[in-house]
């Protein structure tokens, strides 16, 4: 099939890990026409990144092997090229950008040096002065403000979005025919992501290059791709034009994945007799003028010159029995707010009252009985559980401290019930955290939060590190637990889809302040504040 820029046939990539062989890519076939974008989608471990790295042959040779397959680029098999051959292709005909802009750039070289290096490597006839000119032009092309000044900057002086622009400029410096992008926007805020995606589409239109775009976000797929390939555990389970695959998926796995997206999840019918009277009751949590400021100390005597205003005079009511979503981008202060409510972060000033009782300024001993009412679940499954303790201990210790259960036997019984309520088996009590997957650990974290039978739980981005299908399960679990126990939740997240599915009320934060709050349907349907509008617009949606 001529006209295809890239053709991958029967590709197999095996990796050596800890003495075992892993079939990371197992007989994969796809092709990319000139000028089109092909998205490779899948969950973690599906082999999408490894496929991309195989195309450009960036996998270390002592670990990876390709037992079979062909990668035809403009008719030439890349797998058969020798080392100088593939190096000539890399950077000039096929370029690649990566997920983490922070670490993907060399911290000790200026960005100008790094871009000119790419240029002069493949076009050695270019002089230094001309290389500099071209680099500045490339930076302007990626819409970097003040491009000529930025030439001499170091990576750490730029923001995440700016660094990714530099990466793109560097990749496009030699005008490649194919750009491979491995989750380039996953680590960026949603508004920045929107800009970068827009930029990439424009560049593609201007240069006519093809893109191989790796992602796990179907919204991004819908915005960017003409073609989609879905991978599961090394195999390509479905390939086809984007509109077809997304609207009429044929393979069961694709159907599962699409069904697990928050916008497609079915919300259970909630029976909440008090929902009409919600506004009459006293809110469970009342926050008034909360400030959490961190001092910045400089100078000879370490005097405080300024403050980082993480939470800047926030006032908020959280009604009982409702799920309130706290949304915002990185650095807006939502995590700090969540922790301050639980007194894990001492507030600088302001008041927090739970059921009428003031929380700020209490001693540890006075605080202890109140801690039963409010608990927290965390984002990172790796560090949320003490690796030295059995699950049983993690669950029963708080019970013991607060006097729940008359003896150890009863507490073990209660712990078993807790595990069952998060849909885990009872004998998981006798295991250690490292024996569980990420999703299971998040469930255990929830079980721990429920151990004291609290009325209020802060969920700090608990699904952000999980695959979409696991996330769906956890969200549904949350809803059912809320129903059973009449819980109040403060759900911190940056994912708007989850907000719309899960929450009753939404609070939007920006730079330490609340810019908008209200019923979810209202805030997400008719946003009033310009920032909220910008945020909602930036979210990549499936339906266009």
């Amino acid at each position: 099939m001529s006209g295809q820029l890239l053709e991958v046939r029967n590709l197999r990539t095996y990796l050596q890990a800890d003495g075992r062989e892993v079939r990371a890519v197992d007989d994969v076939n796809f092709s990319i026409p000139k000028g089109d974008t092909f998205c490779l989608v899948g969950e973690s471990g599906s082999g999408k990144s490894v496929s991309a790295l195989s195309v450009i042959r960036l996998l270390p040779q002592d670990v990876a092997s390709h037992p079979s397959g062909e990668i035809l680029f403009n008719g030439r098999d890349l797998l058969k090229l020798d080392d100088p051959g593939i190096r000539a292709v890399r950077g000039s005909q096929i370029a690649m950008i990566f997920q983490e802009p922070m670490t993907s750039l060399n911290p000790v070289l200026t960005i100008g040096e790094q871009i000119t290096e790419a240029l002069q490597l493949h076009r050695p006839e270019i002089s230094d002065a001309e290389a500099e000119q071209r680099t500045i032009m490339a930076l302007e092309q990626v819409q970097m403000p003040q491009a000529s000044r930025r030439f001499r900057d170091y990576p750490h002086q730029l923001s995440g979005g700016q660094r990714q622009r530099v990466m793109i400029a560097m990749a496009l410096a030699c005008e490649p025919q194919l750009l491979i992008a491995d989750e380039p926007t996953t680590a960026l805020d949603v508004t920045v992501q929107a800009e970068i995606l827009r930029l990439m589409r424009k560049l593609q239109d201007d240069t006519g290059m093809s893109m191989l775009f790796i992602t796990h976000d179907f919204g991004v797929v819908a915005q960017m791709a003409q073609w989609v390939g879905v991978m599961q555990q090394g195999k390509m389970v479905e390939v086809g034009p984007c509109s077809e695959v997304l609207r009429k998926p044929r393979h069961s796995y694709t159907q599962q994945l699409l069904a697990a997206l928050p916008e497609n999840l079915v919300k259970p019918v909630s029976v909440r007799p008090h929902s009409q009277n919600a506004t009459d009751q006293t809110p469970l949590l009342q926050i008034r003028d909360l400030k959490v400021w961190f001092p910045i100390k400089k100078g000879l005597l370490r005097r405080t010159v300024d403050y980082v205003r993480a939470v800047d005079e926030v006032s908020l009511d959280i009604p009982q029995g409702q799920i309130v979503a706290l949304v915002g981008e990185s650095g807006c202060g939502k995590t700090t707010l969540g922790r301050a409510v639980l007194q894990l972060e001492p507030p600088t000033s302001g008041s927090i009252q739970i059921q009428g009782r003031e929380l700020t300024g209490l001693s540890a001993r006075e605080l202890r009985p109140l801690r039963r009412k409010m608990q927290i679940a965390f984002q990172d499954p790796q560090s949320s559980l003490n690796p030295r303790l059995l699950i049983e201990t993690t669950l029963t210790e708080p019970m013991k401290v607060h006097g729940i259960g008359v003896d150890h036997e009863q507490r073990i019984e209660l712990a078993g019930l807790l595990l069952e309520s998060v849909q885990l088996k009872r004998d998981f009590l006798w295991r250690y955290p490292h024996e569980f997957s990420g999703g299971q650990r998040q469930r255990i974290g929830l079980a721990r939060a429920l151990a004291l039978n609290p009325e209020f739980i802060v969920c700090d981005e608990i699904t952000s590190a999980l695959d979409v299908s696991v996330q769906a399960e956890i969200l549904q679990l949350l809803l059912s637990i809320r129903q059973q126990r009449n819980l109040t939740l403060l759900f911190i997240t940056h994912n708007i889809g989850v907000v719309e599915y899960l929450s009753d009320r939404t609070v939007v934060m920006y730079k330490g302040k609340i810019v908008e709050q209200g019923e979810t349907a209202q805030v997400c349907g008719q946003p009033q504040h310009p920032y909220t509008q910008k945020l909602l617009e930036a979210v990549p949606r499936l339906s266009l």
Partner: protein
């Protein structure tokens, strides 16, 4: 209590298993085991008196009669350690039991053991002890402080050079057998290593823990203290201590410990600061758990690992310090020590190679062994960069 099947291995067991998975650490541990054996059973391994003899039908064991307080205490501690290790209790309780047991043994030994004060080794070569029905001598029939005057010893002699008596490693300047002294010197090296490191560890953990937990003023003052002890030229301070306070083994142990704690304090402080931010510690705080539980159940066990690596290297360092002091002429005088023997290698105009190679070799092997163990342990905890690591994908 109902039966609960404990499945798979705990964190500690996993680390332990990974550590033992290499040739180097096995060599190291074997050497240390050899040293421990030599240190504990030294009086039975190298002594001028017979282990067991029968004279005129009467069986006696002179060695047992002459066991000093120290000898008995070391033996007792060893067996207590073995016993405690076998007990199925938690590791904290084990350590406590061990310490109590050995303290008790020390007290009892001091009260009840009264060996003869003066020992004249020449007697054991006299008729009273040689004309017997049968006798069993220790493998090396020379005591460390037996200067062999009755045999006309001539001071430093190369191995196997003395006629009439086999000295496998030669004799030192006063005439005593080198191998015997080396075996008895194991005790000093091991005990210095352990006790000095123990003291340093204790001080370091306390100071580092306080700094890490309280921050603020406590942290600032603590850091100044750490800096001071770090910047003092340690060897120099040791020299000063020993020169001004005189040479006692126990003093040396304490001093090496007191000068070496700064590294541990820094480690502990760093770990504490890191651990405080860990989610499970925050969860423990949110759960209202008491401070003691947070510190000892959640933070300490997770911060211990790098500390153990440091301890392993620290023991090696302590042994080196003692050897250096002895070498510079400021070590313990009468009891045998490897460093002191090394010093004799250069004293006379001829180069007494056996005095350098054997004690020096022993020091080297010991330090090497501890370093191997420390390395293996460090690789087990942070396996990303060991030579066996695969790609990090």
């Amino acid at each position: 209590m109902t039966e609960h099947a404990v499945s798979r291995e705990s964190f500690a067991a996993r680390i332990w298993r990974k550590t033992l998975d290499g040739a180097g650490v096995k060599v190291g541990l074997s050497w240390v085991a050899l040293l421990v054996f030599a240190a504990v059973f030294a009086p039975f391994l190298a002594n001028s008196m017979p282990l067991l003899m029968s004279k005129n039908g009467v069986i006696s064991a002179p060695v047992l009669q002459y066991l000093s307080v120290e000898d008995r205490w070391v033996l007792a501690t060893f067996f207590i350690a073995l016993a405690v290790y076998r007990l199925p209790v938690g590791s904290a309780k084990r350590i406590l039991l061990f310490l109590l047991g050995s303290a008790l043994a020390a007290v009892l030994a001091n009260l009840f053991v009264k060996p003869p004060v003066l020992v004249i080794y020449d007697d054991f070569r006299s008729a009273a002890y040689t004309e017997t029905d049968w006798r069993i001598m220790p493998p090396i029939p020379y005591a460390p402080t037996d200067y062999l005057r009755d045999l006309g010893s001539k001071g430093l002699e190369a191995p196997l050079a003395t006629e009439g008596h086999t000295h496998l490693m030669g004799t030192e300047e006063n005439g005593a057998d080198v191998l015997s002294r080396m075996i008895h010197a194991c005790r000093i090296s091991l005990s210095i290593g352990l006790i000095a490191s123990g003291i340093a560890l204790l001080i370091g953990v306390v100071v580092g823990g306080l700094m890490g937990y309280f921050s603020g003023i406590v942290d600032m003052l603590g850091m100044r203290l750490v800096e001071i002890f770090e910047d003092i030229p340690t060897l120099f301070l040791l020299l000063t201590f020993v020169a001004f306070f005189g040479r006692s083994l126990y003093m040396m142990m304490v001093i090496i410990g007191v000068t070496g704690w700064s590294g541990y304090a820094r480690y502990v402080r760093t770990e504490f600061l890191k651990l405080r931010k860990q989610d499970y510690v925050q969860a423990a705080v949110a759960g209202g758990l008491p401070l003691s539980s947070i510190l000892f159940r959640h933070m300490l066990p997770n911060g211990v690992a790098p500390l153990l690596v440091a301890v392993s290297f620290g023991v090696a360092g302590a042994i080196l310090s003692e050897a250096t002091l002895s070498f510079l002429g400021l070590g313990v005088v009468d009891a045998p020590s490897w460093g002191q023997m090394l010093d004799q290698a250069v004293k006379s105009s001829t180069f007494n190679w056996w005095m350098a190679v054997f004690p020096g070799g022993a020091i080297f092997m010991t330090v090497f062994a501890y370093n191997l163990i420390g390395e293996a342990f460090r690789d087990a905890i942070d396996p990303k960069l060991s030579s066996k690591a695969g790609v990090n994908r």
